[in-house]
């Protein structure tokens, strides 16, 4: 089997996983709220007092995320952000490491509906996971 991987710095890779998971969680939350109460990007923009394009750029990754923008988007979605760090060492020790019962706390961005991201995210010596939507 001929395989291929993209080589990037492990530290940047951890950041990449975090950004990717946050985008995925925000998109899932918006999709869920869209189904539940017809919430749209325009509604988020109105709630936050910004242009719809600003919301679109944040969600698509063409505009950078900040802690404030993540918090604002989650708030406008009617979700809370929860934060935990997960030990990467423990995670590597068992592929089926149960995040919900982790003895060492993970970073988790969580929401009112409790959707859990499937992709673990590494940060420093800990895993970062997000849970939104």
């Amino acid at each position: 089997m001929s395989s291929y991987r993209i080589r990037i710095d492990p530290r940047r890779k951890a950041f990449t996983r975090l950004i990717s998971a946050i985008h995925r969680e925000l998109a899932a939350a918006l999709e869920g709220e869209g189904r539940a109460r017809n919430l749209t990007q325009s509604d988020l923009a109105n709630t936050l007092g910004v242009n719809k394009s600003a919301i679109s750029r944040r969600l698509s990754g063409t505009s950078n995320l900040t802690l404030k923008s993540i918090s604002d988007l989650a708030w406008a979605l009617g979700h809370d952000v929860d934060f935990r760090l997960v030990s990467r060492r423990q995670k590597m020790a068992g592929a089926n490491y149960p995040i919900a019962t982790a003895p060492e706390g993970p970073m988790v961005i969580s929401s009112t509906t409790g959707h859990t991201a499937s992709a673990p995210l590494a940060l420093s010596s800990h895993q970062v996971t997000t849970k939104v939507g």
Partner: protein, 157 residues
């Protein structure tokens, strides 16, 4: 006749893998060698655009990783069928990069080539790239059907 997996076994295609990932693969992503060479030789040198969190290379790495390893990956916003009339050529999108290929089967994407979004817009090269993807697909002599398509991306993911 062949499948992307058998072609990867023979070295004609590359299979994307993240050796540090402990989660099992949810989907398969195959690359032409030319795409791998473009990533390693061109994309790797592209700087992060102002206002972005990730460099173009990191954007592609994240998308490839999410496609292969993330169970709840929806593909919404990441895949565009660039010729809905019938060729089944899809554009894999990140904020700054486009990767072109096709779905061989559900959850199996064959990535043929890549380009920077800014270059695509400037040269209007999508039609040419689509033709090149179709020609490359024909040369692989894949088991039929050689590609699948759907108006609903979740049916392909």
């Amino acid at each position: 006749m062949a499948t992307p997996s058998t072609l990867a076994d023979r070295g004609s295609l590359l299979r994307y893998e993240d050796h540090e990932e402990i989660q099992p693969a949810e989907r398969l992503l195959f690359l032409f060698q030319e795409l791998a060479d473009w990533i390693d030789g061109t994309l790797v040198y592209q700087p992060r655009i102002r206002g972005r969190d990730l460099t173009p290379l990191e954007q592609v790495e994240a998308l490839f990783h999410d496609f292969v390893y993330t169970k709840d990956f929806t593909g919404v916003g990441h895949f565009v069928n660039i010729m809905p009339q019938g060729d089944g050529v899809y554009e894999m999108k990140t904020p700054d990069v486009r990767v072109f290929g096709w779905f061989y089967r559900t959850a199996q994407f064959v990535a043929h080539s890549g380009a920077l979004k800014k270059d695509i817009k400037r040269t209007r090269a999508v039609d040419r790239i689509r033709r090149e993807v179709v020609q490359a697909r024909s040369r692989l002599n894949l088991d039929q059907p050689a590609f699948i398509r759907s108006s609903r991306i979740h049916e392909l993911i």
